[in-house]
Symmetry: C2
Subunit: 300 residues, 2 copies
């Protein structure tokens, strides 16, 4: 399974980066190969200063070795070996009418002293962070998530949509980071679902990613915008930073387990603003977004 999934994310990274380069039309992804001293490594691909993408990363990594102590505590297991691989992406578009998107699909294995798998699971998801709300875009993104889920189980979409709203919640602001999507974790073998079923589901979601995001990029990337709208995007990006540095388990985990800093923090937006007590005008488009973020809704 680990070879199968690793091969999948390698191909998916190629597909996604080449498609995004084509849409951007100016910037190319810059590749950094890195090695983890304790075992494994990754292929980081970052795009900056494009026509469409101001900054973004589409990274894969595959790491293995002794399970770090902090992770032993987290998973409540003793000293053992592990393997983990995944694809992580974040795209921060230049145009404030194009939403930021984040996605991650990953696979994890833990072994006993004889190298036998004790436990294995998939995790991941994708979510959208708009700066201006177009209901048709939100519906399209969620419908794509739902269609992919529904091919596998009628409960998956409602369940993973709800977990996404719960996970990407900026508690200190009492608002969601964005308008959500899917979030799932610990997808293990069950009586009715084999690991191959799990793989088929997660790769279905991975394959649906461009279908969900690209039409929105195409539709909004040429929309003209004012400096005020750009400022609003940069202020909202501040909330993105706050979530990632204060609450995001993946980011904090990476930082605390000596991950590759630049690959982890590539998720941070290129330009960000913080003003004291900035409040959007009542009845404005900016205010409408915030009110939706404070009360996550069902889009499909």
């Amino acid at each position: 399974m680990k070879d199968q999934f690793l091969a999948y994310i390698k191909t998916l990274q190629n597909t996604i980066t080449s498609t995004l380069e084509e849409i951007d039309g100016k910037a190319n992804f810059k590749e950094d190969l890195w090695e983890r001293p304790e075992g494994g490594g990754g292929r980081t691909r970052v795009i900056e200063n494009g026509n469409v993408f101001e900054k973004g990363g589409v990274n894969i990594s595959s790491v293995h070795g002794k399970l770090p102590e902090s992770m032993q505590k987290y998973f409540k297991v003793n000293d053992c070996d592990f393997f983990a691989c995944g694809l992580s992406l974040v795209l921060h578009p230049k145009n404030p009418f194009v939403p930021t998107v984040h996605a991650n699909w990953r696979y994890f294995e833990m072994y006993d002293a004889d190298g036998k798998i004790i436990s294995s699971w998939f995790g991941g998801g994708q979510d959208l962070t708009p700066y201006y709300l177009f209901e048709e875009d939100a519906i399209h993104f969620h419908q794509t998530c739902k269609d992919a889920c529904d091919k596998h189980h009628p409960e998956f979409y409602p369940q993973y949509k709800k977990r996404c709203d719960e996970y990407f919640w900026n508690t200190h602001r009492e608002e969601a980071r964005g308008i959500g999507g899917l979030f799932f974790d610990y997808l293990k073998e069950t009586d009715s679902l084999s690991m191959q079923d799990r793989y088929d589901f997660v790769t279905e979601i991975g394959n649906s990613f461009l279908k969900g995001y690209l039409p929105i990029v195409e539709k909004r990337k040429e929309t003209s915008f004012t400096q005020e709208q750009k400022d609003w995007q940069e202020i909202r990006r501040g909330r993105y930073v706050e979530f990632n540095l204060i609450h995001d388990k993946g980011t904090l985990f990476g930082l605390k387990t000596n991950g590759r800093i630049e690959s982890i923090l590539m998720s941070l937006p290129p330009k960000v603003q913080w003003h004291y007590n900035h409040l959007p005008k009542e009845g404005s488009q900016e205010g409408k977004l915030v009110s939706i973020l404070k009360n996550p809704k069902d889009w499909v």
Copy 2:
């Protein structure tokens, strides 16, 4: 003691904000009075878009009531009442040759069921975060800290200077946030030092703040700078954000104990940049700063 210290920080806030307004010559501090539902409140004063200060806050707060549960765990005490007051300030200058400065002086009391003080202490400090290093500025700032400390105890400066370097350490970057200053906490009564002695020391430090910072502002505020130097400042401000949101106990504590968000996060810089894997050129002024941050030194 609590009335004495509260009166002190009120006066000090007035002195500092009026002096900074004079130097800025354009922007004024905007005042927000706020109340804490559980008891107490604060006086937040924020300056934005000045000639000298791009953003800054000089806040006082005085809060009391039942000690929040998270703080009970932290201080390893049971259900009890507390009182805490302090002054917190952060100034982000426009000119990249003027350093950012942070300071905080605070007093804490905990009570038994009869309202008798179980424990009380002072804490605080001040530290400088330059974007370009001028050795004479670093020496002046540290000399002012040392002079104020030396009036009270020859061990204070070396001890609190060291704690400052240890505290403001961005572990995930393996570098200091800035060039340090003083950091002290849990200054309690001892056989040789009364609470009045502690008060005299902390207020000596508070009174020395403008003496340490203002001459540097005066000397550097008119220096002309390029867009590249401004970009460097905004990139380094990213590290400031990383420290405050990932590591700073005060910030995280405030966020987790339902503090006033806008007063806590006023410490974040107005405009910030994150580039992928940005490295200063070898032998450059930018590179010189980073090498000092990676190897904190003694300035006096």
